[in-house]
């Protein structure tokens, strides 16, 4: 089938073009981390100064670590809680289910600025206060709806007969979930986790309201820097993060299968 071949070739080309579109700003960001001008001025002048000064910038580095830590913990918690909730919403029928599903949208729909302010006031009022713990509390809550929506979308493609079959073979609920359901929805869980990480790692507004001096996250540092002291050190640290995560991801893709292939 020659047409199929051509169509598939075009498809591959298309995906490649989409990746180029997605990575265009990232490549520019990385290039500018090697440019001498702090204002992205051209012509390009090669330098590694920003990497050197990044090394000296303890505040930026510690904020980066905080962000990574919070993002990883957020991802784990929200994936576990979110997947559990999606399973419940998928399996059981009860009054108020529609309401629970609708309740996933306020955290996404209300601008984070309002949610952040609300959290600040509420946490202050009930004594949770600010700090890394409060930030984590907020991030998980923001990431949960994304995980639930994404995992639920995958669950809708799941045939309940598979669970039934496993059950009739004597498997209990846990075994059914672990052996049958989870492997099927794994691509959704992974995608949900990736979103959760992105939501937390790039979360500025909520972190901003809930951070305390000395306990900030990377986006908070970046946004505070924009007003006066923006330097391409920020590009440098972002570039390092992207390169390292890309290496980790490609490694993961090399050794694990989670795309849902049978």
């Amino acid at each position: 089938m020659a047409t199929t071949r051509i169509l598939e070739g075009l498809g591959r080309l298309y995906v490649f073009m989409l990746l180029a579109f997605l990575y265009l700003p990232i490549i520019i960001m990385a290039l500018m981390s090697f440019n001498a001008s702090p204002f992205y001025q051209l012509p390009f002048e090669w330098t590694v100064d920003w990497y050197q000064s990044l090394w000296q910038n303890g505040q930026l580095i510690s904020a980066t670590w905080n962000s990574l830590e919070i993002a990883v913990i957020t991802t784990i918690i929200s994936v576990v809680l979110g997947t559990a909730a999606s399973l419940a919403l998928y399996r059981y029928e009860f009054r108020g289910k529609k309401l629970l599903q609708a309740l996933l949208f306020p955290p996404i729909a209300i601008p984070w600025l309002i949610t952040g302010t609300a959290m600040l006031i509420f946490f202050f009022g009930v004594g949770i206060g600010r700090g890394l713990f409060a930030i984590l509390l907020g991030h998980v809550a923001l990431a949960l709806p994304y995980v639930i929506v994404v995992v639920s979308a995958r669950l809708q493609t799941f045939a309940p007969e598979l669970e039934e079959a496993a059950r009739s073979l004597g498997a209990n609920q846990w075994q059914v979930t672990a052996r049958v359901t989870l492997p099927w929805i794994m691509p959704g869980v992974i995608a949900g986790g990736l979103f959760a990480f992105a939501v937390s790692f790039d979360q500025f507004v909520v972190s901003y309201f809930l951070s305390t001096p000395g306990q900030t996250t990377l986006p908070v540092e970046i946004y505070a820097a924009i007003r006066k002291g923006f330097t391409p050190e920020i590009n440098a640290v972002s570039t390092i993060i992207i390169v390292v995560s890309m290496a980790l991801m490609l490694l993961t893709a090399r050794f694990f299968k989670f795309g849902g292939e049978k």
């Binding site: 702090p38 204002f39 992205y40 001025q41 305390t212 001096p213 820097a225 007003r227």
Partner: protein, 353 residues
């Protein structure tokens, strides 16, 4: 060069001796300020910590409203807060800041009289804010677009600059700028319709609304703009520090001036440390270093300004008595006024969409 060196040395000794008086109350000083605005310079923090034994912990805000919220929701956390003089009144009325014992600040005596006595900072004979630096919101130009620097604010309306004009996305500043363009007092705008008409005709000229120094510098570095409103200290820094083709223009019609001051929040756990820090911030030695290394607005301390070289921008241009006559200092604005300004500004932005 001799004289400033000598003064610097003398003041350095002075700050050290005065600083030693405070070492007794060593502890942490929590400072709330804009980021990259003097108080968080690593060399300054280090020098202050070395001299007084206090540890400085900086926290930042991105708007005055946010600064007020942070003090409201964190009683007892901050020891020093930088408040624009126009907001001092509100902070005092809400009982967020406490009177300052200026006898504990040796450098306070050198603050220029008109600023130290400002009714915006002193209430009932008590000082609620120590004047730190002041500056202007004036015009700045891209030198590449002009053979000769303009002198009038009207340049912003020149069709030759259509689509290459910028203005800050700030309702109060925009309205006050409109007041200057229509020859009115910025603190007592009588003819609001004239301001509106004037700004309406400016909107089609505008490329974008800037919100940070970085925005401005990026746009001028890529030659996307000709002229726009800008802060005096930032224009000077762009030119001298970043070598960008920027010069400040203080138009003949005038400019908006602002005064930044330090206050001590109610509930500060280290008032001694706070006093030492504020004293250090208004010290000439710190100021000269700040101007040289980073670029800064004009100090409220007359001795600090005199310690700058004769031809320094902050001394020559900003200290010019002719300039002093033209500029208008921002007075406090009520919430109701602010909302009227915002409504006007939002309407203008929607109409030009």
């Amino acid at each position: 060069m001799r004289m400033p060196d000598l003064t610097a040395l003398l003041t350095a000794t002075a700050v050290f001796t005065s600083a030693f008086a405070f070492t007794a109350q060593a502890g942490e000083v929590h400072v709330l300020n804009w980021k990259g605005y003097g108080a968080d310079e690593p060399w300054a923090v280090e020098a202050f910590e070395k001299a007084t034994g206090n540890k400085v912990i900086n926290d930042f805000f991105n708007s005055e409203q946010e600064m007020l919220t942070k003090i409201r929701t964190n009683p007892g956390l901050y020891d020093v807060v930088m408040i624009n003089a126009a907001f001092n009144d509100q902070a005092m009325a809400e009982k967020l800041i406490q009177p300052i014992d200026t006898s504990k600040l040796p450098n306070y005596a050198d603050i220029s009289k008109d600023k130290a006595g400002s009714p915006m900072l002193d209430h009932d004979g008590k000082v609620y804010g120590v004047p730190w630096v002041w500056g202007l919101t004036a015009l700045a130009i891209n030198e590449k677009s002009f053979d000769k620097a303009p002198t009038s604010i009207a340049e912003m309306w020149d069709p030759a600059h259509k689509g290459r004009v910028v203005i800050r996305d700030d309702a109060v500043e925009a309205v006050q700028f409109g007041a200057i363009a229509t020859g009115q007092n910025i603190n007592d705008i009588k003819d609001m319709d004239a301001v509106k008409t004037k700004l309406t005709s400016l909107m089609p000229q505008i490329k974008t609304f800037w919100s940070s120094e970085n925005d401005w510098n990026q746009m001028v570095a890529s030659n996307q703009i000709d002229i726009g409103t800008y802060w005096s200290g930032s224009a000077d820094r762009a030119k001298t520090h970043f070598k960008l083709p920027v010069s400040l223009v203080i138009p003949q019609e005038g400019a908006v001036a602002w005064l930044d001051a330090f206050s001590i929040p109610v509930g500060s756990k280290n008032v001694g440390g706070a006093e030492a820090f504020i004293n250090y911030m208004i010290d000439p030695k710190f100021y000269v270093e700040w101007v040289t290394k980073v670029g800064a607005p004009v100090s409220a301390n007359t001795k600090a300004v005199e310690a700058l070289p004769e031809d320094a921008f902050n001394r020559k241009v900003m200290g010019d008595p002719e300039v002093a006559k033209r500029i208008q200092f921002q007075a406090p604005i009520t919430d109701a006024q602010r909302e009227v300004y915002l409504a006007l500004w939002q309407q203008l932005k929607v109409d030009v969409k």
